[in-house]
């Protein structure tokens, strides 16, 4: 099977989507001739034509608005927002329009769009190239939020998102575009070539939304993570020698509650890891759900490992970014009698 990094896997997914469905088109800032600042749409315009993959004005709200209108017409637009930090200008279009259209129109109209966006930290991008805004989307009824952690899932989840008839926010952890990153920034970079999930079929396939992956089975405790944090948690588990079960949520809406609950009921302990600021982050919802559904099985407090409650601090990246050491400490706290 060919080996791909996440950028190549996403590019392959988009290439297939354009090939299979004439009603699918792509637009966004710099995605056309240039192929995107992260190269995810590389060569797609050249291969499929200028109207299938083209540059958009620097107007995120306008991009989403146009995509909603195209969806109402019957197309399946896939748009790129250059950084997840820049989805915010389009937040109203996503919440007040895309998320509500099917409901309020009694099903007459819907917004089957996919909003791709590089997200998360670890690249010294500073305040506006590093944020993880997933929690504010997860709270919005009508939106789905997908976050892959590896090339194989990225391709399958993106194709599933494009095929989905509802608006999907597809957040791409840019720190793992070119290789799995476990938080050990002091060590040499790894590539996807040596990683099993870097093996990606050329063909069309989907990974269903709402189905979590048990990355590593274990009995001592359950670690819930998504995106880059799956690799950070994996490293922490490996290095600690703790027999933790690691679950990659893959999509937070829909959320695979059954897999989560079954695991925590077995282990009795739970650590939640995300990059986003802790307060009001998605970890709060996860903690509440686990607590509500596994209360009598819990043997210690559910722990949250997350970014601090500060803006994303450029020079303090590794003090802010939740690394293996913080995950390790949290796991040990949950194991205290």
């Amino acid at each position: 099977m060919p080996s791909m990094n996440m950028v190549q896997a996403l590019n392959s997914a988009l290439d297939l989507a354009l090939t299979r469905d004439p009603d699918t088109l792509i637009f966004g800032q710099d995605v056309g001739y240039f192929g995107g600042v992260f190269r995810v749409t590389d060569k797609l315009q050249q291969k499929h034509g200028v109207t299938r993959c083209f540059d958009a004005p620097i107007a995120e709200g306008g991009i989403i608005a146009a995509a909603i209108g195209m969806g109402a017409y019957g197309l399946r637009p896939v748009v790129e927002i250059q950084f997840a930090d820049y989805i915010l200008p389009a937040f109203d279009q996503l919440v007040s329009e895309a998320a509500r259209l099917r409901y309020r129109s009694g099903g007459q109209f819907s917004a089957p769009l996919t909003v791709r966006s590089p997200y998360g930290g670890g690249i010294f991008g500073g305040q506006t190239h590093s944020q993880s805004p997933e929690a504010i989307f997860a709270h919005i009824s009508g939106l789905k939020t997908v976050i892959p952690s590896n090339p194989y899932d990225a391709k399958g989840l993106l194709l599933a998102s494009i095929a989905d008839d509802d608006p999907v926010i597809f957040l791409e952890p840019k720190r793992v575009y070119n290789g799995p990153f476990d938080g050990h920034h002091e060590l040499a970079l790894k590539t996807w070539a040596d990683h099993p999930m870097g093996e990606v079929p050329d063909e069309y396939y989907t990974v269903p939304l709402g189905k979590a992956a048990i990355v590593r089975p274990g009995s001592a405790l359950t670690v819930l993570a998504y995106g880059t944090m799956v690799h950070v948690a994996g490293a922490a588990i490996e290095e600690s020698g703790i027999d933790a079960e690691l679950i990659d949520l893959r999509s937070i809406v829909p959320l695979d509650i059954d897999t989560i609950v079954a695991s925590v009921k077995r282990t009795g302990r739970c650590v939640i890891v995300h990059e986003a600021s802790r307060f009001g982050g998605f970890g709060g919802e996860l903690s509440a759900l686990v607590q509500e559904r596994c209360f009598h099985h819990l043997r210690s407090p559910i722990e949250r490992v997350a970014g601090w409650d500060t803006p994303y601090p450029y020079a303090f990246e590794w003090d802010y970014f939740p690394g293996p050491a913080r995950v390790d400490a949290a796991m040990r706290r949950t194991l205290e009698p």
Binding site: L25, A66, G69, E97, S105, G106, F109, S110, I257
Partner: protein, 409 residues
């Protein structure tokens, strides 16, 4: 440069407030029939005077004059008159229904009926309208079942929107009428996207999007026009300038400094300023812009100059912020009266026929209300509670199913 003279902050204010004498003398009204009608292929730099003029066809006597006269058939004009009158009667009836507690909310489009009616009849059945809440006459002109409007307003068991939406925020896809929502400004960009999609598919359908003059201040307006200009989208973008945004006069949206039609110039597209109370002028401008759109010449911005004769909504009392007599003083008159006058003048209508039509349409509205009330007014009947949980997504996830179970529906 002298730093001595102090700055001061300018706050726009309307010419008259309650108690003041009403005057529209400051408003220059060009005579009907004078403005030229350019070729649709005319380059934008030859059209930059249009936004400062006013396209008018009906003169004060009711004659249709000048190059913009669309020379419509009497049948077409009568269809327009019917749609406008039906809208007027419908508004009055449902406004009363609100006072009688049959609904929680209602909005009238009194004085603006020509706009939706003329444009609905000017455009094709498969074109798509992205409306504001003031163009219900679009639906009236396409014979949308009045009872379904009332069912929606009453949110009863037959509400096409299943009780999920505030009264008058209709959606009627089969009538080329896009889903309304309570927030303003956001859907004009959908019109552009829809038009881009039609062009992308090499289809021949065009879109028309509406926005109130007050809402043009939203960033959505600018982004929509930017997209329309950049991709030459086949779309008509209409600003219904009814002078007021709730209690704020159009100067708060920039109307003191220039016209709303002039915003077209920022995007290098034509801007037409049209007498919105003149059915013929609205039709003519719409056809001109539609022909441009269909000829791949791109978007046109149309300012429909009119006046919001009624309150903003049933929650509003306009006498609190503008003279009660301002509506009557509006120099461009009543769109319904002006079309009626024209039809009578050309011998295609009469007071008697108008009387008969009024009686007929009053009954249309009343019977629709009766039919709807037989199902139930607000609170007396409504769609199954289960509808609250449907349609959030195409397929519900466990949250919806669990919560539906918790509520026991």
């Amino acid at each position: 440069m002298s730093d001595t003279n102090k700055l001061h902050l300018h706050i726009p204010a309307p010419k008259a407030r309650p108690g003041d004498a009403v005057t529209f003398d400051h408003m220059a009204i060009p005579a009907a029939g004078k403005l030229r009608r350019p070729e649709i292929k005319a380059p934008e730099d030859q059209l930059r005077d249009l936004p400062y003029d006013l396209i008018r066809v009906l003169d004060d006597e009711g004659n249709a004059v000048g190059p913009w006269n669309p020379s419509l058939s009497a049948d077409h004009l009568r269809r327009g008159l019917r749609a406008m009158l039906l809208t007027r009667l419908f508004d009055d009836q449902l406004f009363r229904a609100h006072r009688q507690g049959k609904t929680t909310f209602f909005m009238k489009s009194t004085g603006e009926e020509a706009i939706g009616a003329a444009q609905s009849l000017a455009l094709g059945a498969s074109d798509m309208c992205f409306p504001t809440y003031r163009v219900v006459s679009w639906l009236m002109a396409r014979d949308y079942p009045v009872v379904d409007l009332v069912n929606q307003i009453y949110s009863n068991a037959s509400d096409p929107l299943k009780g999920r939406q505030l009264p008058i925020l209709y959606s009627a896809r089969d009538y080329g009428f896009y889903s309304l929502s309570g927030n303003v400004g956001t859907r004009i960009g959908h019109a552009v996207g829809w038009a881009m999609a039609s062009a992308y598919k090499q289809d021949d359908k065009i879109a028309i999007g509406y926005i109130g003059e007050g809402s043009t201040a939203e960033g959505d307006f600018h982004e929509a026009l930017t997209f329309a200009s950049v991709y030459r989208a086949p779309v008509l973008l209409c600003i219904t300038n009814n002078q007021w945004a709730i209690s704020s006069f159009q100067g708060i949206a920039g109307g003191e400094a220039t016209t709303f039609a002039a915003k077209a110039i920022a995007y290098g597209i034509p801007g037409l300023r049209v007498d919105g109370n003149d059915f013929l002028a609205v039709h003519a401008a719409t056809i001109w812009a539609a022909q441009r759109a269909k000829a791949n010449l791109g978007a046109t911005l149309i300012e429909l100059f009119t006046y919001r004769a009624a309150g903003h909504s049933t929650s509003d009392d306009p006498t609190k912020y503008r003279p009660a007599t301002e509506a009557q003083a509006w120099p461009l008159g009543d769109p319904l009266e002006r079309l009626k006058q024209h039809l009578i003048l050309i011998g295609e209508w009469s007071e008697e026929r108008h009387e008969k039509l009024t009686v007929e349409l009053t009954e249309v509205v009343k019977s629709a209300c009766r039919e709807a009330e037989a199902i139930g007014t607000f609170g007396k009947s409504r769609p199954g509670t289960r509808e609250m949980f449907e349609g959030v997504y195409k397929d519900p996830d466990w949250r919806i199913t669990e919560q539906r179970r918790e509520l026991g529906v």
